[in-house]
């Protein structure tokens, strides 16, 4: 299955990219997507979203999903 992965703000800088496309052979969780795409240990404060809704790291992802990772939000 195909997953679009996005990184925002300081996380995008750290990864050196703001998005990538990941091809996966089997069903995965949000945490699995992170490890497959980055090969890095996830920092403690990373937030995740699936299809533009906040998601937990154990949530499953499906073919065609957009999975986003970002640091704590600082708007307002």
């Amino acid at each position: 299955m195909s997953i679009k992965v996005r990184y925002f703000a300081s996380l995008g800088e750290r990864m050196g990219r703001s998005e990538s496309n990941l091809e996966l052979a089997q069903a995965m969780t949000v945490a699995d997507v992170w490890y497959h795409d980055t090969s890095q240990i996830m920092p403690n404060n990373v937030l995740a979203a699936v299809n533009m809704e906040y998601a937990g790291l154990a949530d499953e992802v499906n073919d065609g999903d957009e999975v986003a990772f970002f640091p704590p939000v600082t708007g307002g």
Partner: protein
Amino acid sequence: MKVSICSQAFNPWQALQDYQQDLKPDVQFGATSIFIGTMRDYNDGARVSSMTLEYYPGMTEKQLEKIIAQAGQQWQILDAYISHRVGKIQPDETIVLVAVWAAHRGDAFDACRFIMEALKSTAPFWKNEKLASGETRWVASNSGGYQKG
């Protein structure tokens, strides 16, 4: 209800006036509560010369709409409006406007506060500050607004 993401400077008073004009002639509201956030030229021990606000197009709007819906479940509100800047911002420019219309002040005040705090802690926006020294830095986190300081 309106959620607006602005890439250009906006006048919050004008935006409010324009929006409230559209609410008429339905004048059920006896109370309007507003919050306006403005960019400071000083933060965390340094002079800040400008700021760039990044957001997540699509999710940010969705999250702001969700916050207004949550406020509507907790308080009797008639309408709400959020406008938020993105892109490059200069000190003294408005970053955010939150306005809530209700029949009574309690609902207007409380819902406005709730929307602003929920925006600060859950809406996907990220500030990158350019300091007077020329250095740039990401703001690490927002303070908890219900605690002092």
